[in-house]
């Protein structure tokens, strides 16, 4: 019988009881994270901003959930709300977040703090601003190790240098004593990842980790995250605005719009059969290398709605090319037609019907409020008489 450090054997009772009373290591079945109807509203003078408005999902151990949406869709607030980073007097946080069976909503910040770093950690978008410019990299790395894991300074330094090496930083011993400004953007993001991984979290939030980086460095950082995730059997929530980033790297993808999940499916299913017009529009707006140059991009007109006064009915309806009267009146429920594939639309994109639209509408109106697709859906799937799928 082999006893691992985690004490998988029943007889090796937990030495670090204080640490592990939070998390029951035996319970490896069941999802690591269960989010149910999570709401996060910011109470401002102008009204309540519904940044996250009833989001539910499960995340299994070692899996990746990609959260995709435009700026202002609530995707960043979602991950911060799950972690409990947005607790303030004017924030209303409702619903349920079960981490390993433990309720996090309403939990007192002191107990939450014991989870941060050790159980869940975050890699932030901007490696320039998420590191403290006047503190050496080494100290920023060892802070968590000495405070959370009660390591001695020497142990922490050894582990931190090993951490820097594992994220691909050359000569980590030298970098340990350097300041953030002495590193390039890509290297800084590697440090950000090393800090997040230092205490061995089981759940990693990566909030647009590559948006501030070049494409070549982006590929390196995404590869690094994937490799670390595999090695540590860590679950990850990868937040991005680019469907291309999550396509090959997420097990499941949740598309967010105006604080809600509007489509959620395993990655392969989503790309094989997009049902929500918003997801389709997002996909269409990405320039493809396979298209000849000067291929007109199908941009989504307008911008995400005001979250204080979201539109009545479907929140995407003002920008949706397929919107009907019903869409403007009634909010569509999140329905699950095929197992695992949920979407929120009265008239979903039908994968079986492909009717190229004959008429080409003039694409002149770029007005922000007009809410039309820049270009008419040319070779797109279109529902003829809108036939409702369910019920």
């Amino acid at each position: 019988m082999s006893t691992t450090t985690n004490g998988s054997g029943a007889d090796t009772s937990t030495e670090q009881g204080a640490l592990l009373d939070l998390i029951d290591d035996q319970k490896t079945a069941g999802p690591l994270l269960e989010v149910k109807d999570l709401k996060t509203y910011f109470d401002l003078e102008a009204g309540a901003v519904r940044a996250v408005d009833g989001v539910s999902f499960n995340l299994d151990r070692g899996k990746t959930l990609g959260v995709v949406g435009e700026s202002g869709s609530g995707k960043t607030v979602l991950s911060r709300s799950i972690m409990g980073l947005v607790i303030a007097a004017n924030v209303l946080r409702q619903g349920s977040v079960l981490y390993d069976g433990q309720e996090l909503v309403g939990q007192n910040p002191k107990r939450l703090r014991r989870l941060w770093g050790r159980e869940m950690a975050m890699v932030f978008q901007d490696p320039m601003t998420s590191l403290n410019p006047v503190v050496k990299i080494g100290r920023q790395l060892t802070e968590g190790l000495t405070k959370n894991l009660d390591m001695s300074k020497r142990e922490a330094k050894e582990l931190a240098i090993a951490g820097l090496r594992s994220v691909g930083i050359p000569s980590p011993e030298r970098r340990f004593d350097e300041y953030p400004h002495q590193l390039s953007g890509g290297m800084r993001q590697r440090v950000g990842i090393a800090i997040a991984l230092a205490c061995g979290p089981k759940l990693l939030f990566a909030d647009e980790p590559t948006t501030a980086l070049d494409v070549t460095v982006q590929a390196q950082i995404l590869d690094l995250l994937q490799q670390q995730q595999r090695e540590r059997f860590m679950a990850m929530i990868l937040v991005t605005h680019d469907l291309g980033v999550v396509a090959n790297r997420a097990d499941e993808i949740a598309v967010m719009y105006a604080g809600q999940v509007v489509e959620k499916a395993p990655a392969a299913d989503l790309f094989a059969a997009v049902r929500m017009p918003y997801t389709e529009a997002l996909l269409n707006s990405i320039p493809r290398l396979t298209d000849p140059s000067h291929t007109r991009l199908r941009a989504i007109g307008g911008r995400p709605p005001d979250l204080i006064h979201p539109p009545k009915g479907c929140r995407f309806s003002p920008r949706c090319p397929y919107a009907q009267d019903k869409c403007r009146e009634e909010m569509p429920p999140l329905i699950e037609e095929t197992p695992g594939h949920q979407f929120r639309c009265w008239f979903p994109v039908d994968v079986s019907v492909t009717v190229p639209t004959p008429a080409e509408r003039p694409a002149v109106d770029h007005d922000a409020g007009s809410g039309r697709l820049d270009e008419p859906a040319l070779k797109q799937t279109i529902l003829e008489p809108p036939a409702r799928k369910d019920d």
Binding site: V215, T216, G244, A247, S285, I286, L289, S293, R303
Partner: protein, 349 residues
């Protein structure tokens, strides 16, 4: 690999902009020099869009700024409409400026937050004392409409009341108001969401057609550059690697660096999951002390000893496709001299 050479330049009188042997260097501490741009040449025909692509620090923005003489280059010629801007100073240079505009990466920080949109867009007209107040207002309304903003709703607002995409539209309007011939777009969509990015690219295409513009489009995303450009120049560490048509560069890249850039683009297609593409490793070497010979050799999978000795020059490997590489993916490799000859010229094209 990155090299010099002018083989890719077209007839001098055909080009609206012709940059020859551009060098930009900055002094650094202890007498060292930053070699930001070293011996870069390119030209842009009227109505053409040239895409300038490369990683951060490759000198693409510096090149764009050197064209508009902000700051002027250390050496080289910048021929715009037959005038060498690099040799022009003061009032003469100022007179050329209205025909030469620039759009910047961060739309929000490139607009003065204290001023109203009407003043921001009208400022060039005021500086050049164009028309009466009434004419100016008409002109401002006209350009705002053409960039897709509602003049009535936006004239009296300030930049913070707009989203990033709308701010970029305001920047485009400001650039258009003087009716320029050439616009240098320095990463105009890098700070925007994909959905808004598509709007701005479409807008630039529309404006180009409507006002007969010539564009130099600088970006690090080859997919974006491919979409908008008629010709692409790939830069690496202050030098050009490859010049050619977007389709040629995509379907048969000749330079190993171009291939690496192409491989790095995330494709929205999960069927490629598990396909492990070896991504380009390491980072750009320091421009303070660039590698000898070909500048890409330190990261190149194909590099040989010869690459450290001789610098490759741009040569035509396929019709209209030029590459600065000793061992390109398209065309024939150069003959490596048997004996080492440090200053031996590269075999002619």
């Amino acid at each position: 690999m990155a090299g010099s050479g002018t083989a890719h330049l077209r007839a001098p009188d055909a080009a609206l902009l012709r940059v020859e042997n551009l060098v930009v260097e900055y002094p650094s501490s202890r007498g060292a020099r930053v070699h930001a741009v070293t011996d870069v040449s390119f030209d842009v025909l009227p109505g053409e869009t040239l895409g300038l692509v490369g990683e951060s620090g490759c000198g693409k923005s510096t090149t764009g700024k050197a064209v508009i003489q902000m700051p002027p280059p250390t050496a080289g010629k910048v021929l715009f409409d037959g005038i060498d801007l690099a040799a022009t100073r003061g009032e003469e240079l100022r007179k050329v400026r209205p025909r030469l505009q620039m759009i910047f990466q961060d739309p929000i920080s490139s607009l003065n937050p204290r001023r109203r949109v009407r003043d921001i867009v009208a400022e060039p007209l005021v500086i050049w004392d164009e028309g009466s107040t009434d004419d100016r207002r008409k002109r401002v309304v006209e350009v705002l409409e053409s960039v897709g903003l509602d003049p009535d709703a936006s004239l009296n607002k300030r930049p913070h009341e707009f989203s990033g995409g709308q701010c970029q539209r305001i920047c485009v309007a400001r650039a258009l108001v003087m009716d320029p011939k050439l616009i240098i777009c320095d990463e105009p969509v890098s700070a925007l969401d994909v959905s808004v990015q598509a709007q701005i690219i479409n807008l630039l295409e529309d404006m180009k057609a409507r006002y007969g513009l010539t564009l130099v489009f600088i970006a690090h995303d080859l997919a974006v550059v491919k979409n908008i450009s008629d010709r692409i120049a790939v830069m690496y560490l202050g030098k050009l690697c490859e010049v050619g048509s977007p389709d040629a560069i995509y379907s048969s890249p000749a330079h190993h660096y171009t291939t690496a850039l192409l491989d790095a683009i995330p494709e929205p297609d999960p069927t490629q999951r598990g396909r492990e593409v070896p991504h380009l490793e390491g980072e750009l070497p320091s421009p303070l002390d660039p590698p000898s010979g070909c500048r890409f050799r330190t990261r190149c999978p194909r590099a040989e000893e010869y690459c450290a000795q001789a610098e490759p020059e741009l040569r035509e490997v396929a019709p209209g496709q030029f590459v600065a590489c000793h061992f390109p993916l398209v065309g024939t490799p150069v003959d490596v001299p048997a004996t080492r000859a440090d200053s031996a010229p590269i075999p002619a094209v």
